[in-house]
């Protein structure tokens, strides 16, 4: 009477956590570099962040094989766009493309939990957060992955604007400065590393601003 289940799954969860925060003139995209399977660590030094365009980065946790395939697909689509339009894709355009790409595989999804971060065409930071099948929303900050349940409430506490009923509607960007945002990200990961076994080893932070793109790293607990 009970349904027979498959003894093999096409998916695996390689764990990890991603965070992105949008600022007035910058965007921070961060992820840990631990790749796991079950209770094992596969490597301590795997980047989950892909640079899709000059001013657009995507961090993805979940099944890294699917993540890599998704990154390659988007990179190829971006090349086509550049040939046709003679310019880079804007972050909102890439956000829509990612959503469409994910939904295309609605019935055999990419097991990827993504946050897209970048600068919009006005140079303001923007972050888009996704589920595995492409539902997305522009937000001021977001986290995905195994540590997101620990990090998201903390970001809400630090960054969420007060009730819109009391104040006029605010932009979806944080008033924090770039260095404050980076410190906040480091704090988030240090905390998540304590309690989430799948998060740790090293933190990779990508910072996008008017000058370009730069990377910072921070060691995390390795246990």
């Amino acid at each position: 009477m009970t349904k027979e289940h498959a003894n093999w799954s096409p998916y695996d969860n390689n764990g990890g956590t991603c965070v992105a925060i949008a600022g007035a003139e910058y965007c921070v995209v961060a992820a840990d570099t631990r790749m796991s399977s079950g209770y094992n660590i596969l490597t301590r030094d795997y980047s989950k962040i892909a640079q899709l365009a000059d001013k657009c980065s995507m961090a993805s946790s979940g099944f890294q094989a699917d993540v890599r395939a998704l990154q390659k697909h988007l990179e190829a689509r971006h090349l086509i766009y550049q040939h046709q339009h003679n310019k880079q894709m804007s972050t909102p355009a890439m956000a829509q493309l990612l959503s469409n790409t994910l939904y295309y595989k609605r019935f055999f999804p990419y097991y990827a939990f993504n946050v897209l971060g970048g600068l919009d065409s006005q140079g303001k930071g923007c972050v888009f957060t996704y589920d595995a099948v492409g539902s997305y929303e522009r937000v001021g900050y977001s986290s995905q992955g195994s540590g997101s349940t620990l990090i998201m409430p903390f970001l809400d506490n630090q960054l969420k604007s007060p009730s819109p009923l009391l104040l006029p509607a605010k932009d979806a960007v944080t008033p924090l400065s770039e260095s404050e945002a980076i410190d906040l990200v480091k704090t988030c990961f240090a905390s998540a590393t304590e309690r989430d076994i799948y998060t740790g080893d090293k933190l990779e932070i990508v910072i996008l601003n008017a000058e370009g793109i730069r990377r910072e790293y921070m060691e995390l607990r390795k246990d």
């Binding site: 390659k72 190829a76 090349l79 086509i80 040939h83």
Partner: protein, 281 residues
């Protein structure tokens, strides 16, 4: 060439063993405005004459970026050229996707040639009416190829196609032995000189030509009008002197000269013959 009873479709041979439709397609290339290419060991330069139909219209695009390491200049039916460029871009993207490395130029031109050949052997198709000068860099060095509507392709040190291309070829025939060791700036200047030859006395300005470069450490890109005009002004002020060999003065162009490792160049022919039936080469 004159009309005859064997030239109606591409799948009919003439008694002399020629496919006239293919030869007519190559005629279309000769009628297009000129495009030239030349290469050194480290760089490839493509240049084309871009004349607009009228003062009101924009110029026809004749040089296309195919990938960071490959570009193409076309002459003939530019619509066919656009379609083939799109194919080439797609092939490069797919190769990069599968192999995470750049498509070697030699492979791309073979695929292009095979695609052109198909159109010479299907009764419901016609040959592409465009000649392509494919310039690119890969692990084996800098390459310049010419792809014909016939499905043939050749590698060149320098070549020119389109109307009055013979004038450019004559200029390059005199100088091609210096190209291999040429600096980037001199290569571009030679390209501009060769292009000027095709204009038969008309003044060369950056509004009627397009120049593109690819080299070691330098992705394929089209030079902007100001840079091209500056280079043209330089040699016109200098009194129509063709640039000398490597002993020439340091670069005066706006772009820095990238230092690159010298790659061994492949053995190559000079410009093609034009007397024989083209497919027979």
């Amino acid at each position: 060439m004159f009309r005859n009873q064997y030239d109606t479709d591409v799948t009919t041979w003439s008694p002399a063993g020629r496919l006239f439709q293919v030869e007519y397609a190559m005629e279309a290339v000769k009628q297009g405005s000129a495009a030239i290419g030349l290469r050194s060991k480290t760089h490839v330069v493509l240049a084309s004459v871009n004349k607009a139909n009228s003062e009101l219209s924009s110029h026809q695009k004749k040089i296309f970026k195919v990938d960071d390491h490959i570009g193409v200049a076309i002459a003939g039916l530019t619509a066919d050229g656009r379609v083939l460029s799109r194919y080439m871009r797609s092939e490069c993207i797919n190769y990069s996707y599968s192999y995470e490395s750049k498509l070697p130029v030699g492979r791309l031109v073979v695929q292009l040639a095979d695609k052109a050949q198909v159109c010479t052997q299907r009764s419901w198709k016609r040959p592409y009416g465009v000649g392509l000068l494919v310039g690119g860099l890969d692990e084996s060095g800098a390459h310049l190829y010419y792809n014909c509507p016939s499905g043939n392709y050749f590698e060149y040190q320098a070549f020119a196609i389109g109307s009055r291309s013979q004038a450019a070829k004559t200029y390059m025939e005199r100088k091609f032995e210096t190209f291999a060791e040429s600096s980037r700036e001199n290569l571009i200047k030679d390209a501009l000189f060769a292009l000027r030859e095709t204009l038969q006395g008309e003044k060369l300005t950056s509004t009627i030509c397009t120049v593109a470069v690819v080299g070691i450490g330098e992705a394929f890109h089209i030079l902007d009008k100001e840079t091209v005009q500056a280079l043209i002004n330089e040699f016109e002020i200098a009194g129509e002197e063709a640039p000398a060999n490597e002993a020439a003065p340091e670069d005066q162009g706006g772009d820095a000269q990238p230092g690159g490792d010298v790659q061994p160049g492949a053995a190559d022919q000079g410009p093609a013959d034009e007397g024989v039936a083209p497919m027979d080469i």
